[in-house]
Symmetry: C2
Subunit: 343 residues, 2 copies
């Protein structure tokens, strides 16, 4: 049987109130008693029951995290940042994935709601309202990505990032640039597409039809294969790095040189992006930082230190590497990547 605060009180020959006060330091306890109680509690290996504690304190010291997926390096980085934030603020992390299903996401939020003090939700759906609506303001909420809905919102300036990447490809002399999108209803992907189109508008060039992907690497491979048979462009801009890498694989498999025959750029700057051959030009997001700050804001909201409807926009960094090199020109790429702040 587990040892309870009453067991400790009996062993230390004091009341439960004194034990509670000694352990939490909430009220005055004489030095002798304090020491004695702590010693007994340590000897008995007493750990207070979190459920009982949350019942009377009305807090759980836990932040819930709901992610659409856990596949690939993007989420690995994000989770790392989330853990850093939780650890830093003395909170636990309750993690769940919704696998892209809205109904499942709403169900997960329901069961999480009573176990956490606040939630960080990454909702890739255009109708983020249904997700935040499921909570109806009952729990402090920080949304990462997505568009509308209650709660604070963390987002990446997808439009600016895509604009910068596309402008860069145009400057490198590429004229026929293909865009590989994420899922049709994904807001981040849509905004990146808008940036891609605006850059074309500026340059007075009509863009190609969009190739649809789903953010997973395999869909990038398929997109690359499709482009191989449908007329190769000068360059490909994929809506994220995973698809860009898949696309690269398709091209190299067909014996093409990148960037000699076709240039490639992605979005996110996942750790892998600088390791592949050729290293990938991309719009970099400080993924882990974003996760950490999301938790920190959520905790601040729980503590009542922050306003609820705060917005935070992360500006991506244009990271120029070898994969976007000018067509034909096979000269050595710059040895160190050039980091250039967008705006």
């Amino acid at each position: 049987m587990k040892v309870t605060i009453r067991d400790v009180a009996r062993a230390a020959d004091v009341s439960v109130a004194t034990v509670s006060r000694a352990l939490n330091g909430t009220d005055t306890v004489s030095a002798d008693t304090l020491e004695h109680v702590l010693k007994i509690a340590r000897e008995m290996d007493f750990v207070p029951h979190a459920g009982a504690r949350s019942l009377s304190l009305r807090r759980t010291d836990t932040i819930g995290v709901l992610l659409p997926d856990l596949h690939g390096e993007y989420f690995s980085e994000l989770i790392r940042g989330l853990d850093l934030g939780a650890r830093g603020t003395g909170h636990h992390l309750l993690l769940s994935a919704s696998h892209g299903d809205i109904a499942e996401a709403v169900a997960a939020l329901r069961t999480m709601r009573s176990r956490v003090d606040g939630l960080v939700v990454m909702s890739p759906f255009a109708d983020g309202e249904s997700v935040s609506g499921a909570l109806s303001g009952k729990v402090p909420l920080v949304m990462i990505g997505g568009s509308e809905g209650a709660g604070a919102r963390f987002s990446v300036d997808n439009h600016a990032g895509a604009l910068a990447v596309t402008r860069h490809l145009l400057e490198m002399g590429h004229r026929d640039i293909a865009f590989v999108s994420g899922p049709a209803d994904n807001v981040d992907s849509r905004e990146r597409l808008r940036g891609y189109r605006d850059a074309h508008r500026e340059a007075g060039i009509a863009p190609r039809p969009v190739v649809q992907g789903d953010f997973r690497e395999d869909s990038g491979f398929e997109a690359g294969t499709l482009l191989l048979s449908n007329g190769l462009p000068d360059a490909v801009f994929a809506a994220n790095d995973a698809m860009a890498i898949g696309c690269l694989r398709a091209f190299r498999g067909a014996g093409l040189s990148v960037p000699g025959d076709v240039a490639i750029a992605g979005f996110d700057d996942i750790p892998m992006a600088r390791l592949i051959e050729p290293a990938l030009t991309t719009a970099g997001i400080a993924i882990a930082d974003m996760g950490r700050e999301a938790i920190e804001l959520c905790v601040a909201m729980v503590r009542g230190e922050a306003e609820a409807p705060e917005r935070r926009l992360f500006a991506p960094t244009l990271v120029i590497r070898a994969s976007s090199g000018a067509k034909q020109e096979r000269a050595a790429p710059p040895s160190r990547p050039i980091r250039e702040e967008v705006r």
Copy 2:
């Protein structure tokens, strides 16, 4: 204010017991009442307080997970598997990282203990006892990796995997094979080293001195740089894929051809391994499966359906790709990777 079961009972004009029974289906409730109560509960958006529930039920429906680190694809895959297992068994996942610090790990286990029904702990330390000792059998425990200690244990047959990889390198004609290890006190790394040495013993070849790494990619890069100046071997076997990739980067940066000038092999078969250039020969572990099964076993133990001291050994698969090709021979590698079961 939150809506409680008493609020629902009042609104539905029944007792709290009836509401509880209706919601949990634990006891007979008339069809009319059942429907009526569920309707009211739905309208009021009632979510039972998890703390109160865990207090009387003595269970939390949560499994705690403690990992040494969250960096890189290995953990991304592992977490994905853990989430799959938790979702499949209807449990929540409480995630934490100990950042390699034993004291921190023990502290984390203490605070987790009262919030979970069971724990899955990945302890890379040789003295796993101190970790499992911190729990002293009070919570069902599944350890991943590590050596001794209480609880069930999931491990990879590191020795067999390393033996297979080293034999393969020897068969490819490499004689001078360097080993890049993980942290000195890491049990997995030690076992891999043992497999590497045993393969050399079989072949009657004296191995090189070990190059020490820490499982992170950067340490692989440093190891590669060291090898470049200390006399290049025929091949490098790194104790995990991340370091193998770092090493590869160092060699390519120096203008060497892999596997033409030096062959490389790793361990784990992280998703990135097949995407890099050249694709990496490695000992493959079904990382996500291991995570999922660890959770499933832990849940079975919580339910009393499984014996505590169960052991499970995962046999790695030798995955032969381009990076281990014979020295000198620059011929095209097999187009499809050859998967060959160890044993």
